[in-house]
Symmetry: C2
Subunit: 140 residues, 2 copies
């Protein structure tokens, strides 16, 4: 393992505005994406802006998913950050790609929490760098 | 304007574990970082994991801040995503760098929501791409 986490940044262009304007639907899709990727949902928070746009975050035991939508431009910006082998962030990305019906999707993955740097700068020697225990056993 | 948003990804290595283990302190620092950057806080959610670690998100009118901490490794992983000229994500990054007392900080910025692609794939012609109105006028 070279990094604790995988962070996928996704831009969804050309989404139908009635979908990405719907706060309840967006929350349902984001929680659905978390489930589909194998994540354990801890908490979520969604906000509908006046006059339009949704912002929200789903905290998962394995890190988070976030979304911001601009219905007036058909644009939604999503992040899926996961830790551990039990969850695949690209499954969440694929799920949302289908649900948001984007005409154009652009995405890339960034490794997060480099293990060599964690070891180098930790206060004490670390025998083995592992993802959080609760990421393997679910939220306690 | 070439992009709607600026997304700064930051890794804080070698943080004192008593700081990044403290859920209340982390929430205070994250909300403080949002304030310091000029953002308008909409909602926040923080969770303390058993046996250790904090995950949280602050939804701001201009997008979000998130954090995940591994006190056992002295590591904290932060995202600051902002839209509009009224907020500077690097101010939040600097604020957290001081508060989390990292021995080593690594960060980079990703542009989010490319204006040319928004125009290209929007359902109707867009005269001028602007950040959300509420980003300029605060949350209504």
């Amino acid at each position: 393992m070279t990094a604790l986490g995988r962070h996928v940044l996704i831009e969804f262009y050309g989404c139908p505005s009635d979908i990405i304007e719907n706060n309840a639907l967006i929350e349902k899709f984001m929680r659905g994406a978390a489930d589909y990727s194998g994540a354990t949902i801890v908490e979520s928070v969604f906000h509908h802006f006046n006059p339009y746009g949704v912002s929200g975050a789903v905290i998962i035991a394995e890190s988070h998913l976030t979304i911001h939508t601009w219905p007036e431009y058909g644009f939604a910006s999503v992040d899926v950050y996961t830790c551990g082998d039990s969850v695949n962030p690209w499954k969440a990305a694929d799920y949302l790609s289908e649900k948001l019906q984007a005409k154009k999707t652009e995405s890339f993955e960034v490794p997060r929490g480099m293990v060599d740097k964690i070891r180098q700068f930790a206060e004490q020697e670390i025998e083995e760098v592992k993802v959080k225990p609760q990421e393997l056993e679910g939220v306690k």
